[in-house]
Each structure stands twice: as structure tokens, then as C-alpha cells.
């Protein structure tokens, strides 16, 4: 039988160290909502989402009460809308009407984000893909809860540089249209390479076309728990350090597995995966950067940061893999800047630059995330940053992403406040030397040699 010390340990993680289930994300297939008539498509989408997800929020709340574990968010991911809307959408406004429908459905069932306003164009864009991408700025302007993502490359296909070029322009346009709210539209827009189908974390979540009709994916978190565990092994060698991270990740992930199984049972929807990521929030003590500091760095960004992050990411996966029957999504350590107080402190101290973050993304689970840059950054410069990040993903056979916010009207030395989970951040310096001729070439970068595994 469970003993009192184990009970105290678990509850201490929850009450003092911010252990939570970050999200239960219900993936919903919308392919069966496709059709030639846009108002009919909107109708079907609204009814399908509000029907399948009607008990999602109450189920999350029930699990939270019964197990005493906070469940941060209930969310929905849907089939990439570029596929669902392909035959019905003839104009940008047609696509935007679907974004509005998603927003309305999300609000109706009470979820805070709905992801899947997406296009998968890792080799090339179809006409409908391009139309959806061009509709993103307007869709982000007129919705609250819709998240958008575009996959522009993969190890198997190479990188669609036309899409990379276009995304630089789209990000700037999104920033412009949402400039009265510090360009917040860009905080809900991610560019991916090797995007996974089953990612429960926003803003990049969508319901992959390889998935079933509906699926429950759970994202767990708990950087505070890892940090606290590491405080007890200060000065110990790497073996001890790694063992401690691994054991802690195991415990955290077990809670995710429990919640996923329970939600799947109550909702009668198959359990997909647990994503065992350390995802920070702006709350003090819920920071990945603080773990890096605890490992032995003055600030995130100091020499040694990439190595420390590499071992952290790897040990989190090793500990988590055995704890869950299906692991997926991104799984590892997230390093968003504005959502992590330790990262913000590191930027303010001058310890962390965009270039160092890029190096860190080679070994972490995602990429350049929630980075606020000057509003006058050129579109080609943003495309160049995206291209670099996509190349890292393509060559290293990992998921990488860019979520960058050129904040209109702000420059170096200014500060931006997104509020809530999206946090706040100083504007970071960008290398403004031109890459115009590179980005303007057009076409695609071929798949790397190690993609030929047939």
C-alpha cells in the first residue's frame, strides 16, 4: 500500500512545484466535413466539433477534482484546414469564415485554444494551401482562440523555400494586422519542419491525417519539479544529475498517462499519446531556464548551455518513455523566451542571444519559440531565420519550429506584454545583414542524403 511519504512527495510536487497536466488536447478529424459549399462546410465543422468535444471541459475538471492534479488547459486540434476547405474555399474570406467557425466552436465548448488552421507544404503548395496561408493574417486578426501552423519542410522532402519566403511576409502582415495588441497574432502562428501529427501543445497542434476520427493526447509538464529535485543533488557528478532528471521525468509522465487513460475512458475516445515535455509558464518556479541554472550555469545562454540542455532533453525522454505506453508529440524541453521567466532574465542580462537560442534548438524539442524582435525587421530576414531553423530540423531529423513576433512599433530596449500564458519579453536583437538574394531564389532545397533509407 502507498505510504505517507510518497503521498507527501506527490502533493508537494503539485502544491509547491507547479506539477500539472498542461493540456488535454482532443484531436478531431474534419475531413468528413469537406464539400463544395462553404456555408455547408462551416455548418458541418461547427456541429462536429461541438458534438465530439461537448464533454471535454467537464471531463478535464472532473479528473482534476478526483485526482487533485491541476489540468491547465483543455484544447482541440483539428485536421489541417487547407485540406478541409480545399474544395469549398475560393477566396481568402472563405478560409477566414472557417477560422471564425473554429473560434465560435472553441468558445462554445469552452476550450482556450483550437489548433489546426494549418497547411502542410513541405514539398510544395497547392492553390488551396497557398490561399490558406495568405488568409492567416486576417484569420489571426479576427479570432481569439484559433492557432495556425505551416509545415514547410521535412527530412524526407527537403524544404519548400517558396513557402519559407511567403511565411516571412505572412508573419509581418499578421504582426501589422494585430499591432494594436503588440502583434499577438504571431504568437499563435508556428512554422514547422518535421511537424508531428500528434502534438497536443499549441500553437502548433493539428490533428494529423494519419490519425483516427478522434483522439485524446495529453501534454504533461513540471519544470519546477525537476528544478527542485536537482536542488537536492547540487555538486554531484553527471551520472547522479542524469539519474535524478530521469526518475523525476518518469514520475511526472506517469501522471500524464493516468490522466490520458482516464479521459479516454470517460469520453470514450481512444488514447493517442502522452507528450512528456517540460513546458514552462511565466510563473516563478515553472522555468526551464532555472533548471539550466541549477545544472550549473549563471544564466541560460552561458557557455555550456547547449550541453546542459542536450542532457536535460535526453534524460527527460529516457525517463518518460517507460512511464507511458505511447509517447509522442514533441517530448523534451521547450525553450520559449517570453513564457519563461528565467529566459527573460537571461535576455535582459545580455546572456542569451538569438544565435545562442538557435544553437540550443539543435538539442531541444522544438525551436525558436516566442521570440519578440523589432517590428521593422525585414520579411526576408524573418524568412532567413526560418530557413536556418528548418535546415536544423531537416538535417537532424527532428522537429523544429519558429514562432517569432516582430512587434510593430517596438525596437531594441522596448518591452512587450502578451499576457497570460504567452508571457512578456524584451525585444531581442536580430542580425540585419541581408539574405535577400538567398531567399529570393525560389524553389526548394532537396531532401538530405540520409533521407534515402528505402
Amino acid at each position: 500500500m502507498i505510504n505517507i511519504n510518497e503521498v507527501i512527495e506527490t502533493n508537494k510536487m503539485i502544491e509547491q512545484e507547479n506539477l500539472d497536466v498542461r493540456t488535454i488536447t482532443l484531436g478531431i478529424n474534419l475531413l468528413d466535413c469537406a464539400g463544395p459549399d462553404i456555408s455547408e462546410v462551416n455548418n458541418r465543422i461547427y456541429h462536429k466539433i461541438t458534438n465530439v468535444a461537448k464533454d471535454l471541459v467537464s471531463t478535464g475538471n472532473r479528473i482534476q477534482r478526483e485526482y487533485g492534479i491541476p489540468i491547465g488547459n483543455k484544447r482541440i486540434s483539428v485536421t489541417p484546414i487547407s485540406l478541409v476547405g480545399a474544395s469549398a474555399c475560393k477566396t481568402i474570406d472563405d478560409y477566414v469564415s472557417i477560422a471564425r467557425t473554429l473560434d465560435k466552436a472553441a468558445s462554445e465548448v469552452g476550450v482556450n485554444f483550437i489548433g489546426g488552421y494549418s497547411a502542410l507544404v513541405s514539398k510544395a503548395m497547392t492553390a488551396s494551401d497557398e490561399l490558406l496561408i495568405r488568409s492567416i493574417p486576417k484569420a489571426m486578426e479576427c479570432t481569439q482562440r484559433v492557432c495556425s501552423s505551416v509545415n514547410v519542410g521535412s527530412t524526407k522532402t527537403g524544404i519548400d523555400m517558396n513557402a519559407v519566403k511567403l511565411m516571412g511576409e505572412i508573419i509581418l502582415e499578421t504582426a501589422e494586422l494585430t499591432k494594436d495588441k503588440d502583434s499577438i497574432g504571431c504568437a499563435k502562428l508556428v512554422v514547422f519542419c518535421n511537424a508531428p501529427d500528434d502534438n497536443p501543445f499549441m500553437a502548433g497542434a493539428f490533428h494529423g491525417i494519419t490519425e483516427g476520427d478522434a483522439v485524446i493526447n495529453v501534454g504533461v509538464s513540471g519544470p519546477g519539479v525537476v528544478k527542485r529535485a536537482l536542488e537536492n543533488v547540487r555538486g554531484a557528478d553527471f551520472e547522479t544529475l542524469c539519474e535524478t532528471i530521469k526518475k523525476t521525468a518518469f514520475k511526472i509522465t506517469r501522471v500524464g498517462q493516468l490522466v490520458a487513460m482516464e479521459a479516454s475512458k470517460i469520453l470514450n475516445i481512444p488514447f493517442g499519446i502522452v507528450d512528456l515535455s517540460l513546458a514552462p509558464t511565466p510563473a516563478v518556479g515553472d522555468s526551464v531556464a532555472e533548471i539550466l541554472e541549477e545544472i550549473g550555469l549563471e544564466y541560460a545562454g552561458a557557455p555550456g548551455t547547449t550541453a546542459a540542455l542536450a542532457l536535460l532533453n535526453d534524460q527527460v525522454k529516457k525517463g518518460g518513455v517507460m512511464a507511458s505506453s505511447y509517447v509522442g508529440g514533441l517530448s523534451g524541453a521547450f525553450i520559449p523566451v517570453s513564457e519563461d521567466q528565467g529566459m527573460i532574465n537571461a535576455v535582459e542580462a545580455g546572456a542569451l542571444t538569438l544565435e545562442k537560442l538557435e544553437a540550443m534548438t539543435c538539442v531541444c524539442s522544438v525551436g525558436l519559440d516566442m521570440i519578440a524582435v523589432p517590428g521593422d525587421t525585414k520579411a526576408t530576414t524573418i524568412s532567413g531565420i526560418i530557413a536556418d531553423e528548418m535546415a536544423i530540423g531537416m538535417i537532424n531529423q527532428k522537429t523544429t519550429a519558429v514562432r517569432i513576433i516582430p512587434v510593430k512599433g517596438k525596437g531594441i530596449g522596448d518591452y512587450v506584454e502578451f499576457g497570460g500564458l504567452l508571457g512578456h519579453s524584451p525585444i531581442m536583437k536580430v542580425n540585419n545583414f541581408s539574405c535577400d538574394n538567398f531567399i529570393n531564389r525560389g524553389g526548394r532545397i532537396p531532401a538530405p542524403i540520409h533521407s534515402f533509407k528505402n
Binding site: N5, V7, T10, G68, K251, L258
Partner: protein
Amino acid sequence: MKKTVITVVGKDTVGIIAKICTYLASNSINILDISQTIVQDFFNMMMIVDTSKAQKDFDEISRDLEQVGQEIGVVIKAQHEDIFNMMHRI
């Protein structure tokens, strides 16, 4: 049988266990195990109980216990046992 873990944390005072046990008895909740310890000057008690014969549902019991806790100045939490089993047992 789904077992429930009740934890009590707070300043030690006379009658904590008595009050809680009275509530459990009057609601047909059977105590299977009980243990206590002091952590950093705080009274920590854990009970493992069986609620299968209780008339009230989990939610109501959980809220009632919270109320009992407020009356005696301690924090009482009820959680299904599985969260601890999952985390600490393979």
C-alpha cells in the same frame, strides 16, 4: 474498489483525527489505513479509505472534508489512490 487517499496538513491540535473519523463514520466510509508524521513542524496525516458504501459521491465527500478542515484549521484533501500508485509503483 477504488480507494481514496485523504491527507490532512496543518498545525497539530486536539481532536483532528476525532473530527475526521466522526465524519467518515457517519457517512459509512471505512478506514483501511492511517498514518501520521511531522514534516517541518507541520502535522501530516494520511488515511486510505474505502468509499464504496458511502451514499454521497466523491465530489460531495471531497467538499465536506474541505469544510471539516476549515472548521479545525487544517487542509484536508481527498484524492483517488491511483495518482499515487501510478507515480510510485511500476
